[in-house]
Symmetry: C2
């Protein structure tokens, strides 16, 4: 049965999409059947794997969540044989409000994923930068949550709020929800701020912090403009290596459960 | 009468809070009476000017929007004599959902600002990374919207969607809403990606792009950990100079209206 991991942090620009896309790609390159779910109306994860989620070519996550279309009908293939995506486009922006008045609004995604768990070993969900209905759906559907954390002050400041929210969701909706871990991203070893934030997080959260630290690496930020994960754009880059390490660590952490 | 400018972009981490805090500070240092409104439940703008929005010390923007408390009661002073703030804290996270079922939900902020316009020359609103109820309130209350844009691919991809939304809001709710301009942020001249994105934006949007380009500058990202704008933390830095230039350009653009 597939493991569902939500990539979430309400702080914007911390590397959620970059982590979701490249972690999913690294798992697929290790021959793990993987599904990437794009839950952000910006549709960055979709374009990050070269999929334009034009509604004329089939349902997107919006139709699955709000109109009850079966998730299997929205699945698209990617350049990687073991990676599929359930894409998003701007329509999803309406879902935050439309879901508010639907019965069982917070478990729409969970219900849809039950049918898919048997077909994938890993299901990775890219969340938008908020703690609204869409992220709530992801956290109710997930077995664990992986929190990318940019090594900057504002990102660190928002961390305790996020972990409190995860706790509240575990208590109210999803008692099995685990914190998979905190992943330090965009780390620049030359900056004392980066070092300071990394040190503080490791001190407070110990082995909840992934051993792998993703460095700031321009090849990572170039790859989406080519519509491919950095694992394919520049497999020899430090960025690609870091996400291969993240995938290995996730497999190891899941194996120990 | 004060000019109201919303700092908005649904893409996360593009420099909205950094721009709101430092632009407001630069205006205040030019002796312009300025009010900064924090509309993000992360409360980054509040902590960026050293204000901890503990509800026990008075109402925050949450009480103003959802409970109808007069905005004047939530105003706090900052280290700068000409800069006040209407702060936010985590309570605001509930407002996205709570506002949905309130009558005239999109003009709650607009109504509250009418009373304040006479006391300030500039009112700057820091928006969260979404196009939900809070950003809608900001765009309905604003005379203009300033769009910070990180010189990266994902940020560029989301720009047309945002400008479409601004157009829709002008047509449906606020016919006077202007695009103040697009401000390029975190520009790193050594990276071809940065140069490419900057070139593309200038080609498509011409004089809608601020002449000032804010460089990536570590003093900017260090200043919030000291609770002060970069204008006070390191006035001689390239980051502080850039935001003084942004303030001058805003004053010039407003003057030409
Ligand atoms: N390790 C890295 N090195 C260099 N650039 C990076 C790295 N990780 C992410 N980026 C770039 O930083 C920007 C922000 O990353 P990303 O969009 O993945 O964050 P996000 O948390 O998904 O943002 P949002 O909150 O808008 O969803 C992107 O332009 C991305 O290409
Ligand atoms: N010009 C710059 N140079 C260096 N760092 C910057 C610059 N502008 C912003 N930053 C840093 O980048 C990060 C993102 O900026 P900021 O938080 O202002 O973006 P935002 O759009 O407000 O994010 P959110 O979408 O979460 O509200 C912060 O850690 C900030 O300190
Ligand atoms: Mg994202
Ligand atoms: Mg912000």
């Amino acid at each position: 049965m597939g493991v569902v991991t939500a990539i979430a942090n309400q702080k914007g620009g911390v590397g959620k999409t970059t982590t979701a896309v490249n972690l999913a790609a690294a798992l697929a390159l290790q021959a793990k059947r993987t599904l990437l779910i794009d839950l952000d109306s910006q549709g960055s994860a979709s374009s990050g794997v070269g999929v334009t989620a034009d509604s004329s070519r089939g349902p997107t996550i919006y139709e699955v969540l709000v109109n009850g279309v079966a998730a299997a009908e929205g699945l698209r293939h990617t350049d990687l044989s073991e990676l599929d995506i359930l894409p998003a486009n701007r329509d999803l922006a309406g879902a935050e409000v439309e879901l508010v008045n639907i019965e069982d609004r917070e478990i729409q995604l969970k219900r849809q994923l039950e049918a898919l768990r048997a077909s994938y070993q890993f299901i990775i969900i890219d969340c938008p930068p908020s703690l609204g209905m869409l992220t709530l759906n992801a956290l109710c559907a997930a077995d664990s949550v992986l929190v990318p954390l940019q090594t900057e002050f504002y990102a660190l400041e928002g961390l305790t709020g996020l972990l409190d929210t995860v706790e509240r969701i575990r208590a109210a909706y999803n008692e099995d929800l685990l914190l998979e871990g905190i992943l330090l991203t965009m780390f620049d070893g030359r900056l004392s701020l980066s070092q300071q934030v990394a040190r503080e997080v490791k001190t407070h959260f110990g082995d909840k912090v992934f051993r792998t630290v993703v460095p700031r690496n321009v090849r990572i930020s170039e790859s989406p403009s080519h519509g491919v994960p950095v694992l394919l754009y520049d497999p020899a880059s430090r960025g690609a290596q870091a996400y291969r390490d993240v995938a290995n660590e996730l497999i190891e952490r899941v194996g120990k459960r």
